[in-house]
């Protein structure tokens, strides 16, 4: 991707592309919350789950899910709000494209991890 360093007006398609990719990252940041929680739960259950709701294991995973929900929610807000601000400020720059790449790759990776696990 070209940078905006030459001062040329960005092509419309780039604006649309960035907007679409940001929107996709925003949607995925929300979608990945339950899928990541489920993946973590499955991994936990693979080691400790005893199938009962009165055991210590059950309440441990409830606690882990609650903590993880908070973390994932903060991450989603950062991706949606922070990402939008960043991409507007650094529109069509190398670092903007890199951040978009990293964000989407991370989200897809977490979704794939959830699918595989």
């Amino acid at each position: 991707m070209n940078s905006q360093a030459d001062g040329a007006k960005p092509a419309v398609w780039r604006t649309i592309l960035v907007a679409l990719l940001w929107a996709l990252s925003a949607v995925l940041s929300v979608v990945m919350i339950p899928t990541t929680l489920d993946a973590v739960t499955r991994i936990f259950a693979a080691f400790w789950g005893d199938g009962g709701v009165f055991g210590r294991d059950y309440w441990n995973i409830v606690m882990i899910r609650q903590l993880l929900t908070a973390v994932m929610a903060i991450l989603a807000v950062a991706i949606i709000v922070g990402g939008a601000e960043y991409h507007v400020r650094a529109f069509n720059t190398e670092r903007s494209w890199k951040l978009l790449t990293n964000t989407l790759a991370l989200e897809v990776a977490l979704l794939l991890v959830a699918v595989v696990v």
Binding site: A46, F47, T101, A109, L112
Partner: protein, 698 residues
């Protein structure tokens, strides 16, 4: 097109790195969690752990080694005389038991230090693979892939947290490969590599092939034949001297234990099964290995190292066909194939340096595809680990309370105690082993050990306690005990307890149920043998017989009229005059006479489906015990129940769920308690299987 690919490729490469990192973190996390829970577990996780602790205890108790391995206590680790007890075998060279000695001295004969050592060695192996790939490709991502795919293998996950020798041997050999990779022309490095390789071989003898071959070929290709011969000379002189020393000081015992005692029967089906399994688990890794093989040494600088290692490890892996072998035979192959696939990634990603040609550009695209494929492969390996070894270990940990009960029984018992899977309950109490049943059974089958003295001891009740384990789906005791030993135990001992799939045998004092004659006061004899006891399922009994499906006969308990419904593949029922309720009719039901795995009925051919009211005599053969998928019992068994006849004398079909009821009748109202008919123990626990000894009531 090329222009667009050129523009997008750096971003795709970046995305593939993030994706790979996510799966690497996943693999690392699963590996570490599994390691943590396994190290923390108090009881044995594998048959092979206790003998190693036993050897370390004997080394530690000897305080110092005399003439190599002779101990002050008079015991020898590699005793050439197998005729005298203890009947133990040290299958492996002494390096790992020696490494365990400090742990035993500091923490006692627990499993945690040895398991931790294995975990650390697995990590050390991953680090060695990282350095090897980094050295050859200068690619950090490829190096990380090598390290983490190795740790993701289900075989590595399973074995790396066991107190077993293999990971130490693998760590030593992979570090030797790193040393020769990094400094191929340095003479001191060659010597160090030789020492490491000898260390690996003196940890596990099968490590004398793949890594030494790879190091030798690599040195020959990169530093010339002199350097390769120096490595061979160091390994031969040092290894030969150690071997000679050990053989001489043990009176030949070292050879007997290390070589003769390891030549078990070979089964090619096991090799085929494992090959299919690996192909199913890791097609991407195998494709990567194949691609490296085809690339040739000109394209790939690491080829002379990686390919001989891969080929050598493949040859070693074939020995998994030995009876009693396990996935540890595949660990070296896991390391080699991880190395190969990562070397391929490293080669594909070596596209730096402007301006990239079109060919290099597409190679870069392939590099991205390879990274994504291996990342996903890592994910599937983790999935397989979570589904397989992690579940197996979880199931094992779930029996902790039962094993604790078993530990109490062992603790209360005098020596010597015989055990198999749970030999470790002796060593954690600081007690030495008297018998390693699997090893001695294999020696007996090979004609290298006379079991008669042990059989005599069994017949004389020399052992206050014998523990025989039976995996739910696998009659493992058939490999671990000779048929004569099993017969001897059944003839002189009785099963008195059942904990964690382990039967507790104690010298026989009770009269056991018999098919020949009823217990005192009972109207009927047993319908079949209950060598391994009886499971009580809410008034249904499962008689656990010793033997494979189709070998333990089932007979009619009394005269009567036999019936086999057309849809019954595995069962018959017989109507009798009720001996306890005069004037009433009663039905005995004989089920699970089937081999579900083969869909083969074991009911006697004289009674085809649809048989009605055929007279049978007491003791008449009806079929054989089998195994059915439709039951909780996975052991060879007979399902036996007694039901009151309906008013017209017919069979109460709801007993076996043949006819649905609007209002289900509670099973305790449908079935009669069979214990008065057989004069044996019964249980009041409804709905939960309860194991009972197959004893006559006094």
């Amino acid at each position: 097109m090329t222009k667009m690919v050129r523009a997008v490729l750096p971003y795709a490469a970046r995305a593939s790195r993030v994706l790979a990192a996510a799966f690497m973190v996943l693999a690392g996390a699963v590996f570490l969690i599994n390691a943590g829970v396994s190290v923390a577990y108090r009881y044995p996780l594998d048959y092979g752990e206790a003998p190693l602790v036993d050897q370390a205890m004997r080394l530690q108790a000897g305080e110092r080694l005399q003439a190599g391995v002779r101990l002050q206590t008079g015991e020898r680790l590699y005793d050439p005389d197998l005729a005298a007890p203890p009947y133990t075998i040290s299958n492996y060279p002494p390096l790992y038991p020696l490494a365990l000695v400090p742990g035993v001295a500091l923490f006692g004969p627990t499993f945690a230090p040895g398991r931790l050592l294995s975990v650390l060695c697995a990590i050390a192996t991953a680090v060695a693979l990282w350095f090897i790939i980094r050295t050859h490709t200068q690619q950090r991502l490829a190096a990380w892939l090598a390290a983490t795919t190795f740790l993701a293998w289900p075989y590595v996950v399973e074995w790396s947290a066991l107190l077993r020798i293999d990971l130490l041997a693998l760590a030593l050999s992979t570090w030797a490969l790193y040393v020769v990779s990094r400094w191929p022309r340095d003479r001191r490095a060659t010597v160090v590599a030789g020492v490491l390789l000898v260390g690996a071989v003196f940890t596990r003898q099968s490590y004398g092939l793949a890594a030494p071959l790879a190091a030798f070929v690599w040195l020959w290709a990169r530093a010339g034949w002199r350097r390769a011969l120096l490595l061979a000379a160091v390994a031969a002189v040092l290894g030969g001297a150690l071997l000679l020393l050990l053989v001489l000081t043990t009176g030949g015992g070292f050879w007997t234990h290390i070589v003769s005692a390891n030549v078990n029967a070979f089964d090619f089906n096991r090799v085929g099964d494992r090959a299919n399994e690996v192909a199913r688990f890791a097609p991407v890794m195998l494709a990567g290995g194949l691609a490296v093989l085809l690339l040739g040494p000109r394209a790939l600088s690491a080829w002379p190292l990686v390919v001989p290692y891969l080929v050598g490890s493949l040859v070693s892996a074939v020995t998994i066909g030995k009876v009693g072998s396990n996935v540890n035979y595949l660990l070296e192959f896991c390391a080699a194939i991880s190395l190969a696939a990562s070397a391929l990634v490293g080669w594909l990603r070596q596209t730096s340096g402007p301006p990239p040609s079109t060919a290099r550009l597409w190679r870069g695209v392939l590099g991205v595809v390879a990274v994504v494929a291996i990342a996903l492969q890592t994910g599937f390996l983790v999935h397989t680990s979570l589904d397989g070894p992690v579940q197996a270990r979880k199931a094992r940990r779930a029996t902790e309370r039962a094993v604790a009960n078993l530990e109490g029984i062992v603790q209360a018992s005098a020596d010597p105690v015989l055990a198999d899977e749970y030999m470790g309950l002796l060593t954690i109490q600081g007690r030495s082993l008297y018998l390693q049943p699997f090893e001695m059974t294999q020696l007996s089958l090979a004609g290298l050990w006379d079991q008669q003295p042990l059989l005599a001891e069994i017949a004389q009740h020399r052992f206050p306690l014998i523990l025989i384990h039976h995996f739910p789906d696998w009659l493992v005791y058939k490999e671990r005990w000779t048929q004569e030993m099993v017969r001897g135990v059944l003839a002189s001992y009785e099963a008195t307890g059942f904990y964690g799939d382990t039967l507790v045998f104690q010298p026989r004092v009770h009269r056991l149920l018999s098919t020949a004659e009823p217990c005192p006061g009972a109207p009927w004899p047993a319908p079949t043998r209950g060598d391994f006891g009886i499971m009580w399922f809410t008034r249904e009994l499962a008689f656990l017989g010793e033997g494979y499906e189709g070998t333990v006969p089932v007979t009619a308990v009394a005269d009567g009229l036999l019936m086999r419904r057309p849809e019954w593949a595995d069962a018959v029922a017989i109507q009798h005059d009720d001996p306890l309720r005069r004037g009433e009719k009663v039905w005995t039901f004989y089920g699970n006479m089937v081999v579900s795995a083969e869909d083969r009925s074991l009911v006697d051919v004289s009674f085809p489906p649809g048989t009605v009211a055929v007279p049978v005599r007491a003791g008449q053969h009806l079929g054989y015990q089998g195994r059915s998928w439709g039951t909780e019992i996975r052991w060879v068994h007979l399902r036996f129940a007694i039901a009151p006849a309906l008013e017209d004398g017919s069979f109460p079909a709801p007993l076996v769920g043949l006819e649905g009821n609007e209002v289900p009748v509670p099973v305790e109202m449908r079935l009669l308690d069979p214990s008065p008919y057989l004069s044996t123990l019964s249980s009041n626990v409804m709905g939960t299987p309860v194991w009972l000894p197959a004893q006559c009531l006094p």
